[in-house]
Amino acid sequence: MISRRDLMKWGAVVPALVGGSARAMAAVPEGLDALVVDSRHAPGVIANPGGVRVLRFDGDVTQLWFETLDPLWRKPGFVLGGITGRDALFVLETLSWDRGRRVVSRKDMPGRSGRMDGPISWVIAPVHPSVKKG
């Protein structure tokens, strides 16, 4: 389970991660089982930053959710971080509720123009007893 401290660290490291910073790549907090990256918003993120598995998609989350996330979300555990567009988070968040999960951290990031229309960084974690570990 991701700790409060790790969640705060996650919030701090994301902007640099999106910018492709090598230091940030190494500083992805513990407790995340995987990181979802929306290529429209964070093309620079490398595979396995800090040893965390990266799952990439390009706007439409269908295949990623159907093939990878849904089977994982049916089992207990699995904390997922993400840097995605608002539209993709809307879909993933709603789907995650069906499997006893909630967005436990959410942070808007400035877009390329500096306006708040950029990606969102988030963490989805299990909260319902049927999927909580331990």
Partner: protein
Amino acid sequence: MRTPPGVSAVTFADGIAEMKSAVGEEWVFTSDPDVDTYRDFYSVLWGEEDERIASAAVAPKTVEEVQAVVRAANARGIPLYPVSTGRNLGYGGSAPVYSGSVVLDLKRMDRIIEVNEGNASCLVEPGVSYFDMYRHLQETGSKLWIDVPDPGWGSMVGNALDSGGGYTAAPYRGHFEAQCGIEAVMADGELFRTGMGALPGSETWQQYKMGIGPCLDGLFRQSSLGVVTKMGFWLFPQPEAYMSCSVELQRFEDIEPLVDLFNELEYGNIFNGMPSIGSPVLASGNPLIFAEIPEPEEMNRRVRETGLAAWRGSMVFYGPEKVIRAQWEYVQERFAHFEGVKFKENQFVKLPLRPEDMEKIQKNRFGIPSMEIFSVGSRGFGDFNPSDGHIWFSAIIPRSGKGFVKANRVMRQACAEHDVPLFMFSPAVTCWTRSFVLFAAVPVYKDKEKNRRLRESVLKVIQICAEHGWGEYRCPPAFQDAVMDAYSFNNNMLRRVNEKIKDALDPNGILSAGRYGVWPKHLRDGRHA
């Protein structure tokens, strides 16, 4: 804990305790963060006192658990609002019509009870999503297709019960029409089966809809009379090939013969896939917004100047290659006499699909569920962000050229006059074979004042449509009373009969109160003018 109106806190707590003992403590949700997941994120009443909000939610796993919950509610007058997957965005989400109801969330009832390959049918529980069924058909190597709406996260049962529609062949794309056999828990907790399901030992529940006597499946469409716990559907045997084609015509005046001929060809089984009537010259700006159809001279002038066709009739053929090529040839023969006609074979696909086909096809035409629709905004189609939301305005209009032109003009003008913003306005759509439906997607806001104005405007458009004889086939809860009011033949006999049935089958008025304008007796007074 929120409490339903008219139910004391003690009675409610007692009811919730009984529900917990029926389904297990962890499947009854009363905390605000949990119950908030049942808000309608596309509500036109967002954040207002009148927003339709649940008091709690209960998620049973079996029919017996549903019966126990319904009995607990009925004994105490606790209002319940059953949903299947509760993804009815644009038409109410998973929020109840009557605030304070307990959402009866049937997502956990997700058993695919049977897929009958020979009869091309299935029997499912309400929590079976389109994705669940697709996965099952893929994993079992089935040769059957489902018909899917745009977002694949909904359920076969919930979508059909709200009368949803999809994109494949005629017998399947009207989802309530494709159902065959319903099981429902009634308000007193009794179990009811329609059609051949009423005959013990029958093997034809998913083969013959009607059984004996009055056909009662319709009691559960857009209704407040039962909790549907099983539903059968007819499935589409995978065809050998798919071909989409179009006919382009060059003059405004061609619209009437175009629609008439399309009707003849579809009803005569010359093509079996979903047709649509669009206009290249009018959709040359934003492809999601069908412009107001101008006067004939103006439209013909634009056609001449742009070289774009006035009308495009698109049709789809499913079947053996030999047969559908012959059918297309016949269609071309029938249209050959139109001046300047152009024929296009847009796509031919041999089935089953190969992995490389997946990138090229429109998935919903092949019964493949997807969530792609929620990313259209990022592909530059209009100002669409799914987290802001929209409502659907969906009017049934005549399936004729004249009817289409008139409805397009009246609705576009009404939307303009009453400042109804649009991010999608459809061409003539044919989810149901014998009529057209015109869809408008109207953005909603998280801003009370904007939503208040929007509601007033939409009510005016409902009224204008009704004056022309066009009624919505489906709508969000905030407009359900107004839409039902518009079906006013013989002093609103439709609603009055529905109310009599409601009183007889649900005398305590606990199920889905207010759905589509049918309120139980104790909540009815003063509601209708």
